[in-house]
Every structure is written in structure tokens, then in C-alpha cells.
Amino acid sequence: MTKANTYVGSSMPRVEDQRLLTGKGEFIDDVQLPGMLNAAVFRSSMAHAIVRRIDTSEARALPGVVAVLSAADLPRPIPRIPIRIAPIEGAERFLQPVIAEGCVRYVGEPLAIVLAESQELAEDALDRIEVDFEPLDPVSGIGDARRNATLLHPEAGTNLVADYQVTRGDPAMADDAALYRRTESFRIQRHTAVPMETRGLVAQWDAGQGRLTVRGAAKVPFFIRNHLARMLGLAQEMVELIELDVGGGFGVRGEFYPEDFLVPFASRAVGRPVKWIEDRREHFMATAHSREMECSLEIACTSEGRIIALRGEIAADLGAYVSPTGPIVPSRAAQFLAGPYHVPVLDLHVVAALSSRTPVGSYRGPGRFEAAFFRERLMDMAARDLGIAPDEFRRMNLIAASDLPYSIGQLVPYEGPASYDTGDYRAVFDRCLEDFGWAERRKLDGREVAGRLHGLGLACVIDSSGAGPGEHACLYLQQDGNVRVHVGSSALGQGIETTFTQIVADELGLHPERIRICHGSTSLLDEGHGSFHSRSLIMGGNAIVVAARALRDAIRNAAAARFGCTGDEIRLQDGRACKAEGQSTAFADLAPLEGRGSFGGAEKPFGYGTHVAHVAVDVGTGHVEIVDYLAVEDAGRIVNPAIVRGQKIGAIVQGLGGALLEHLVYDDEAQLRTASLADYMLPTAADFPQLDAVTLALAPTPRNPLGVKGAGEDAIAGPGAAVANAVAAALSRYGVEPKELPLDPPRIWALLAAAAARACR
């Protein structure tokens, strides 16, 4: 047996793995209920159109089809999908109805839902629905949206959802004529999470009890439960959301989508269980997109290279409606634009506009990936202008350890001021460069080796974690001596059953096999706030710490009463409460006992780190190879190093996908051109085989009892920036400056062609 109190910090094998490795996990499409119908959603093929008429009669007539529901079959007013986070004034004018009524605003918007005796029949019926559209001009992109010539929501009078300024410092400082300055425009392409399991739901209406059960919840089950109950006119306790195994989330999965209303509503309407499983083509048009953003940015520095100001504008395309995560993507990009650097003056105009595209939501590291790309690219250009090495430029401008905590001011309209907490940004930076062999490798910058040009690129990132309301946990010591943990966090593949088990094992001196983490249902607790913004360990983990300490005290007190001593004299070890002189009793003999705990409300911790990329560019094919890649980051404290390393590497590869491969392409008619995995390029095992992530436990945060910072998201922030800088370094002989992603072969060719044209002038 492992020694007591040593699980936290060990790479314990995951408790989730046994079931997942043997095919015994339970994902949503594995659910089979008696009498269950299959649903298929009929979606708009037009980007922007008036819906004159929907004819579902032929579909209804098909044998095996039980019902076809469209807007006409829903109660009035048609419910609208609420904003969950990042509320901003006026955004309520742009909320999505759960089914299109009278007008469609993006390709893929739900118009009807078919219920049939099999999936095949439901899909057959989709082909028999006829819609009479009157096409309207699409709003194709940010520029179009801002011109307001075509309005997506005419009653609002504008396509702009957000239009605000954030500032810090004294703007006059930035106007000093002696400062070096450069302004550039950048762009991040629309791309998104693409979890391997598509969304799905099974809704079951129990007419006798007046009770609704919905399986397939993820991320924020309580939020969905509360709003679904409201929309259906049910008491909250009569709606249960159940989370099963979830095949990846990355931010997009588990928010409130139209189907989260339509499928339960349909189940109640026909009185039978209904299953809906999104197919991959649907997924690309119906699940949130992200990242699409333009940035015009000015940097002002002293001639020695000290940054004085970053000023400019961020403009994001939010798609056709404001999603449950509001304008979080551009607002976080603005908040994180200065990154881990000391930037005395910030002055940013933030615009979020609507277009005839799939609504945009939060995707792992929202705004961080974008901000790092804009900032780090511009920093490299400035450093080159000033004749300063890129590493020296960063080292000089990173916030010094002695300046932490560092106030960043109020940089988002819906939150108060924030501050960076603990760390040593320069030490982690130096460690990364040293581990990578930066000084030696840098000699390759711009050099041709075996027909390819090599280059190195850097990026420093920082990320908040643990946002939102607090979390709650309840620990029950059962009569068999096992401990059952109820917590409001959600599992999305990140291994929380394991990390939470490790925490409880140490707090109670109990073997992990005696601990069971239960997180899958809104009926386990009164309240829970789920998993987003790297908050599971910070909020859920710390709530469990508080609850476990309460249970520990209860066990001690119960044992003390038995032994006639004080609780302080009781030690917990291997599932027994022990008094000093050899008396002990098993936990089971003290059961039942419970401990409750909550954690929340504190300031957020900030993880940070440095990324470095070494690329080789084939000028002939435009292919960019990642020769090597390293991220060194500080997570404060690490519960399970193998899980953290897995999250970091996974995030880096996902970020490399965004840097080099992934792109949701729309044509001028706002039709999505990349609606399959053959067209939307995800990284494969052959793409990025050489990379590493080192995570340190350098500076635990004082902002939570465990001392942990988020570990799941922040590593995605670096790759876009580091790779683009490396490509610029590789192609420096041509004066190529990538300002847009992805750096796929066509873009590399275009950059080289433009450079050649410049050279000829």
C-alpha cells in the first residue's frame, strides 16, 4: 500500500481508464431505452432568408415517422437561449430562438425536428420536408457586419453586440514623440474544438410523475437544468440532467444549444423517450465555432526596447446570434493582450459583430490564443526593428517576480479589476530557453538545411483559471467504510475522478479504491457550476478539500468520543481512526458521517509559461514542419503529473492545429465549405511527433487551499504565436511576416509570392 498522504503529486493511473479501455464506458449514443424514438434535426440550407412556409406533410406521412415539430408547434413566445457568462449590456437583443421562426440566420439553424422509429427513418424524413425560402443578403464576415448595410436582427438596428474601450495607464505617456512605434493588422481564422464525440441527448418524459430526465449533459448541467425547467414550466427538482462519459468538450460541448430544448420538448410532446445524436456534418454547422478575430495593434517602446503602450482595436465575428458565452472571445483577447509583460499603457477598442455564420462560443483558451498571436508577432517585428534579439526583448519586458502580485486593472466590462498572483515569469522563460538549447539552435535561424529553411519562434503566455461561481462538495462516509463524494464539477475527459480521488485519499488517509467520485447528476447536490475555464480542480478540488476536512473532523470527533479523548489525539490512516497508544477503529464503525464544503469567490490564479518552436519551411511546397517544440509552464501545484502533462501536450497539439491546419471556410454566400473531417484538417499522429511540455510547481497560489492554478487550457495559447514567429524567422531572407493563420501551404505560397513581387518592384 502507498504511504499515507502521498497520492497528491503522484502519477496515479486514472480510475476512469478501466471502463474506457474495455469498451464499458457509457457515452450518450450507448443509451437505449424501451420505446425510444430517434430524432433528426432539419436545418437551414440558406445563410439568411425569410421562411415563407415549412411543409412537413410528406415527412409526417412516411411510415415510422411519429411527429415533425417546427416553430408552429412550439409555445409562444419561442424560448431564447440565455447568456451564461460574459454578460454585456444589449446582448439580450441577439439571443437565439430554440427553433427558427420566420427567418434563418445561418446555415445549420434548426427549422424542424423529426421523431421516428429509427435513426434511418428520421433521416429519410428530413429529405421530404419542403421549405419556401425568400433569400436575403448574407452578412459575410466582420467587415460586412460592421457596415450595417444588412441587419441580421433589424429590430436591434445594428449588427454590433459589443463596442467598448478598455484602458489602463496614462495615455499621454504613449504619445511621446521620441518613442519607437509600429502598427500592424492581424487576423485569426475561424476554427473550433471538434471533440471526437459529437453532441447528443436522450430525453425521457415521465408523464405520471411529471418528471423529465435528460442524459447527455456536459460542462454545466445545473445551468441547463435551471433554464430548461423554466422554459418547460417545470419545477427544477422535476428536471434531472445526467452526465455520462463525455467524448471531449474543450468549451463547445455542454452549453445550451437549441437541441437542449427541442429534444426534451419533443419527448414530452409525444410521451416517449427521444434520442438525438448529432452527426459530424451537423456538428460542423451546429456546434459553436470560435476564434475568428481581427486586430489592428500599435506597439510603442523606448529605443532600448521597453514597452510603453499597446493600443488598437479587436474586432470579432460572433456569428448569427450571441451564444451562452456572450462576447467572451474578444473580451478575453483584450484582457490578455498585454500577456505576462509590463505594459504601462493599454488602450483597446473592442468590437463584436454578428454575421450569417454559426454562432461563436468559448473554445479552450478563448481569447488567449488570439491575444498571444497578435502580441508576440508584433513584439518580434518591433524587436527586429530595434535590433534587439527576440529573447532579450521578452526578458526585458516580462513582469519581474518582485512586481507580483501585479494589478492589470479592469480590462473586461463584466468583471472587476484583476491581478496576476504568483510566479517567476523570467525564471520559467530562462528555463524554457535553456532546456530547448535556444542559444545553440538559434544559429539555424534563417539558414537552409537540406533544402528547407529553419527558424525559431518564442511566445510567452499567461492565463487565468477558475472563473465563475463557487463549487460545492459533499462527502459521505458509508457503513461499508467507503467514502462517496458528490461534487458539482463535470467530467469532459480531463480525469477529475482521478485527481479528486487523490485529494480525498490524502485528506482522509484512505485507499483510493474506497473512494468514489459522483458528479453525473443534478440530483446529487442542490447546486453545481460545472467545468469551464480550468475550474474543476480549483473550484471542485478545493470544495472537496474543505468538505474532506469537515469529514475528517467528524471522524476524529466520533472516534474521540469512543476512546474518551479529544479529536486532536486522533490520527487517520489506512481507513482507520487511531488514538496514539494503539487503539484504533475502522471508519466503517463510525459511519454514517458526512462533511460538506464549498469553495469560491476568491480571486483567480494565473498560470503562465513560455513556448518555443523550431520549424523547417519547405519553400517549394509551403509545408511547415515542427522540428521541435517545448513549453515550460508553472501550474503552482500539481496533483497528477501525468494528467497535467497529457493536458499540456494535448493543448499544444490542438493549438498547432489552429496554427497550421484548421480553418472553417465560408464562401461569399455564407455557405460552410468545410463540414467534414476530410475538409477540416485536424492534427494526426504524423503531424507533430516531436514536442514536449514541462510543467513546474514553482509558485503555488495563495488564492486557494490546494495552491493550484488551472492546467488544462493555457498551453493552447502559445502555439499560434510561437509557430508564426518561427516561420517569420525561417523566411526572414524574404522579409515574410505572417499576420494571419493558419500557416498552411497556400498561405506560405501567398506570403512568398508577395515577397517576390515586392523584391521585383
Binding site: P13, D17, L21, F27, D245, G247, L677
Partner: protein, 168 residues
């Protein structure tokens, strides 16, 4: 809808007969008719590899094959991979190397890796990456999976990886 056909096949060493519509994919048949839900469906167009099973020992995308095509053939799915053990050596190696996170793509990858190592127990890193590149995983970044497969080779070399119904 066409009339159902009766298909006889062996799944994980067990003979079964199943009545399917001719358009039923092997993946849907395994999952919904035979209730072997370990085989997952991620794209239904042969890209992601989550639905990979073995048909007569060869790794096949079950979403691209019709159930009526497997008449008389032997299918192996993840449910049979461990044999009588809790975990087979490949699965054990995945657990040791933290080679899965959400676990959705894992069954298909296990089946491809099992087919590879059964035929080529000395497969080198490049070969493992080549085979693995027929699968999409969005969580792990693939590195731990490569390590897990390489580390499982020894069990295949010494013949310790012979689950029931391996599909031969």
C-alpha cells in the same frame, strides 16, 4: 426501407445471427443490434477511425462497411480485447502511459494497434505513427499513445497478447 436480411457472423469468438436492413452499417449493427457499444462512431465517413474493428484480423472502419458484407466472417471488437483478464497488455500499457483522456477514440485505436502488433510485433516508432495517423484523437496529442503502443510490443513478441476471439 428494404426487407431485412439475416447475417451470420462471429463476434469476439461467439457465433451470432442478426437481422439487419441492407443499409445498416457494421458499426450500427455492432452498437445497436448486438449492443457492443465499445465501438464508437465519430464521423461516419471513414476519417476519424473511432469505429475501427477487426474483420478476419484486418483493421476495418466499421462505418464504411455494411453489416451484410460480414456474412460468415469473424469480427473482433474492443470488448474482446482483454480476453479473460481485466486488461490485455495493450490496454494495460495505455493505462500505464496515460494514453487516453476522454476515451472516445480509444477503442478504435486499440483495435488498429492490436492488428499492427499482432502482425508486426517489432514495428518501429515510424511505423506505429504511420498506423496511428489513421485515427483522430483530440485530447492526447498522440504522444502518450505512441509510447503506449511501443511499450506493448514485448507482450506481442512473446505471445502474451492472445485475447479470445481475436478475429482470425
Amino acid at each position: 426501407m428494404a426487407d431485412p436480411r439475416l447475417v451470420n457472423l462471429t463476434v469476439n469468438g461467439r457465433m451470432v445471427a442478426v437481422s439487419v436492413e441492407p443499409r445498416r452499417s457494421l458499426a450500427d449493427c455492432l452498437r445497436h443490434d448486438l449492443r457492443l457499444t465499445g465501438t464508437h462512431i465519430g464521423c461516419e465517413h471513414g476519417i476519424c477511425g473511432a469505429c475501427t474493428v477487426l474483420v478476419d484480423g484486418a483493421a476495418v472502419r466499421a462505418c464504411l462497411m455494411l453489416a451484410v458484407q460480414v456474412e460468415g466472417r469473424a469480427i473482433a471488437t474492443v470488448e474482446g480485447l482483454a480476453g479473460a483478464a481485466a486488461l490485455g497488455p495493450l490496454q494495460e500499457s495505455f493505462r500505464r502511459h496515460h494514453a487516453l483522456q476522454c476515451g472516445f477514440c480509444t477503442p478504435g485505436i486499440l483495435m488498429s494497434a492490436h492488428a499492427l502488433l499482432s502482425a508486426e510485433p517489432k514495428a518501429d516508432r515510424a511505423r506505429v505513427i504511420e498506423v496511428l495517423s489513421g485515427h483522430l484523437c483530440r485530447c492526447t496529442g498522440y504522444l502518450p499513445i505512441v509510447e503506449a503502443i511501443l511499450d506493448a510490443r514485448e507482450a506481442y513478441l512473446c505471445g502474451a497478447a492472445e485475447p479470445a476471439g481475436k478475429g482470425k
